[in-house]
Amino acid sequence: MADFTLTAEPFLGRFEQHYDDVKLREIYDVAVVSAAIPLRKLTAAKKAVRAAFGVDLPEVGLSALSQDSAMRILRLGTDQAFVVFPRAQQDTGAEPHIADLLGGVFYTTDQSDVWVTLELSGAGARRALERICPLNLAPDAFGIGAVARTSMEHLGTVIIRTCDDSFLLMSASSSAHSFLHAIETSIANTA
């Protein structure tokens, strides 16, 4: 019997495309760990985040980079945060690593293969999102580090503003190609 070797490929095959003043690319090998705060454990959770990442647990709607800038903590709701970081960093699996870092205070779940991540950047990034994203993305309304969960073209999306004209968009990997198509269509419609 022939030997087969399976090689994992990113959801969108390392997609990267430049449009006039917009660049869209897939960010692959991203580890995503959901960290839910148990009931009445907010104080302990804040302490654990400070000890693990050297920064405060961000307020709902904000994200923060760990002190060494290796991980991004997204506060998506009162009881939930995501920790996002490059997957290759940990060989032992993302979830046990984060659970360990946080001292077991949070309920942690590995969601690495659940999300596809796109980076939309360039001077036209905000314009490219204006019809597909229901949020107000004006620079003073959605500041650097802001994060929100919303829906774009009926697909659940997490949007993060990482710098002046750069956004990360995370959506379900099971509909990765539909999501890419929606974003590309939005770029074309607003060009």
């Binding site: 009931l39 009445r40 709902v60 709607g61 998506l76 709701g77 009162t78 939930q80 229901p134 949020l135 107000n136 309304a141 929100a148 969960r149 919303t150 829906s151 659940g156």
Partner: protein
């Protein structure tokens, strides 16, 4: 319609799912003598006001919070939005 979320600010109503009358927060005591009747009322009987109405909305495409929204059913004007968690605690719930 825009719902001004207490934590997240103005968000499109498309991000939310509507459940209904906020009276659902007040679950009857199952140990009470008239529990049958109270649960019948809780399950089936609703006021249908033409005007101000307190209702539960779930922020499904958002932070997954439950809100108590006070909305005028004639004009759709929203006059108050609160976290259902805070509202339930105010009514005696312990968590």
């Amino acid at each position: 319609m825009i719902i001004n979320h207490p934590l997240l600010g103005p968000r499109d109503a498309a991000e939310f799912v509507y459940l209904g009358d906020a009276a659902l927060i007040d679950r009857p005591d199952p140990e009470a003598e008239n529990a049958d009747e109270k649960f019948y009322e809780y399950g089936y009987l609703r006021d249908n006001p033409a005007g101000e109405h307190q209702e539960l909305w779930y922020h499904e495409q958002g932070d997954r919070s439950w809100l108590v929204v006070t909305r005028d059913t004639l004009t759709h004007e929203i006059t108050s939005v609160k976290l259902a968690r805070d509202e339930a605690k105010k009514r005696g719930r312990d968590k």
